[in-house]
Symmetry: C2
Subunit: 350 residues, 2 copies
DNA sequence: GAGGGACGCTAGACCGGTTTAGTAGCCCGC
DNA sequence: GCGGGCTACTAAACCGGTCTAGCGTCCCTC
């Protein structure tokens, strides 16, 4: 491996060059540039002027080595690539993270791995090579093994959602329950009695929490739990689950989906089966993706804020890394956005 | 800023620790670990054994400083966050990039900026802080200013698509034309004569190239260019453009969209207007996103391979950084996937 | 007028690797 | 028996910053 590129021109000025040009020592330059006391105001101004005229910029690498800091945070996404594209969560979340990071001079190191089998390796690599100062933990799972792994690695972390195993990481408290509860209450209020659910994978905390919220909301409304199909947050899975739900003797009059992608695919299945939405079947999603407002009928769904979560999570992680451990961060409950895909159920015996 | 974290336990072993434990010098350890000649086979084995028993792992930071390499590549995405999520291109592309990078021990530094006004700053920051060894250039624009910027910064780069300004960066030759041509030919073959286009922003190379290909394909089929509406690759834009096209005296019988998202939104608009697809209107997309197969009717579209492009682009960039400049990389033409949204046009005067 | 700070700065260690210059030891040939 | 070349290794410079110890100098104080 050719690790050394041939330097083309005169290389960038270093702090030593600035020191020489200003007639002071390296240390003085470092102090001046970092705004530390111990340098006369006049000297500081001169040093800054020289640095500017030389076009000096700090070397990230040297600072990283010297300060034992990577000035970067990491994120490991373990999803098969074909699933990754369809879900708009990550791009929005990352955009939010970046907003905070660039404000604070840090950067994001992203790792995408195809599945859980290499996930641990990926975290280990980030940690042992000291490429990052901390990580985000997303897509929490039941009894998530990453909590122990991160403790072992001594890597600061912020979880998105509160894990169900003891952890001392600050958590961004994303609670999906109010959204699901609102959706179910909305449907129950319209008169629905058989309200089904198409969930995400139940080993995911968000998959399982949404499912539980659906069940609880039904109980609260005095309804018996309708059928629930565990799916995988994909369009294909949503379509398949919908077919399974509708192809029964006593199909539900409403389906609460774990995310928009499955809901949109389910909507399409209903159309294919000649079931009119929302007249004969009501549908709700979760996420409020852009497309939710542009399908027919438009999709009633729960509006989440991955961008805002990304910002908040990044702030929390950087504070933690800077030695200011914070408490868990609350997020506002996600509101239900009522659109065209929900309506009163058909009267049973017209 | 607290740049130094309190060290909790005994810190990780360094190459010096290994040297001491093995009774040799630092240099010998470095040579042994890097498989260089000049170390007796027996000594090398002993050093490796000691390193392993101490749990030594290389420090990325130290290597970066010493080798004047970041061992990272960068990617700047300039899109408003709300648009970023809807388009599955980037996640898939990044997944492909990562596959190559992790194989080759590099990592990806991602920057997301809300719009073009801060794009230049973002590239400059990556370059001047020497955070990355090279970058990908995506979403090429007409007369793209980044080509000159990267030349000024001396930053190795690989473009996705060939820019229309002179550049000495290797390009991943993504040609959207065959896909669009196939779509138009398919429609013309079905008997369509008025084939419209909803394009992406024309200042983007891919937006403009797809539009030109549509125009050329119409000419090749002996048809006059139908109406074209410039849109923005978003669902909202696609819906609006579709309404504009269909709300005329002589609406097209087919619409070729610049991407799937606009096509799906357009499909929905047609349904709302009571226009049956594909009986009264044929529709084609571009991308073959997951949802394309799960809307009703299923979407005829052009299948692109962002994952494969990511892999190839990353390989090319790393080769370039390693001093092995490569030629432009061809990619196979994107095939048309014929599904349910295209059919012969209605007979004009039944 | 001597002792004691505070200030302003310098010299140099340090982070953890890579890499070059130099040296000891060995075998070889003439 | 001695010069020459090769092998295997050591010592130390280097990458570009941060940070500590220390040293004049000036001013204040008693």
């Amino acid at each position: 491996m050719a690790e050394r590129m041939p330097r083309v021109g005169p290389s960038r000025p270093t702090i030593t060059d600035v020191a020489k040009a200003a007639g002071v020592s390296k240390g003085a330059v470092s102090f001046a540039l970092n705004g530390r006391p111990g340098v006369a105001e006049e000297t500081r101004a001169r040093i800054l002027a020289v640095a500017a005229s030389l076009g000096w910029t700090p070397s990230h690498r040297a600072r990283a080595l010297s300060a034992s800091r990577a000035f970067s945070v990491g994120m490991v996404i373990a999803r098969p690539p074909e699933l990754l594209g369809a879900d708009p969560f990550y791009p929005s979340f990352i955009a939010g993270v970046e907003r905070t990071l660039s404000d604070r001079g840090q950067s994001l190191v992203l790792q995408v791995v195809p599945d859980l089998s290499v996930e641990e390796t990926s975290y280990r690599r980030l940690a042992t090579a000291e490429r990052v100062d901390g990580v985000f933990v997303l897509d929490l799972r039941l009894g998530d093994p990453r909590i122990a792994l991160l403790a072992e690695l001594g890597l600061p972390a912020v979880t998105i959602g509160r894990p169900d195993v003891p952890s001392n990481h600050p958590a961004l408290l994303v609670d999906d329950r109010p959204g699901v509860t609102a959706a179910v209450a909305h449907l129950a209020g319209l008169g629905h009695r058989r309200i089904a659910h198409v969930s995400g994978p139940l080993h995911f905390l968000h998959g399982s929490v949404r499912r539980q919220a659906w069940e609880q909301a039904l109980a609260d409304a005095g309804l018996t739990a309708g059928p629930c199909v565990e799916s995988d947050f994909s369009a294909a899975g949503g379509a398949q689950a919908t077919r399974a739900l509708l192809d029964t003797d006593d199909p539900p009059t409403a389906i609460v989906y774990g995310n928009d992608l499955m809901a949109i695919a389910g909507l399409s299945v209903a159309v294919q089966l000649g079931i009119r939405v929302p007249d004969e079947l009501s549908i709700t999603g979760f996420d409020d993706t852009e497309l939710a407002g542009y399908v027919t009928p438009t999709l009633t769904t729960v509006r989440t804020d991955p961008f805002g979560w990304g910002r908040a999570a990044a702030d929390a992680l950087l504070d933690l890394i800077d030695g200011r451990p914070g408490a868990d961060i609350p997020t506002p409950p996600a509101p239900l956005v009522v659109r065209g895909s929900t309506a009163p159920p058909p009267t049973r015996h017209p």
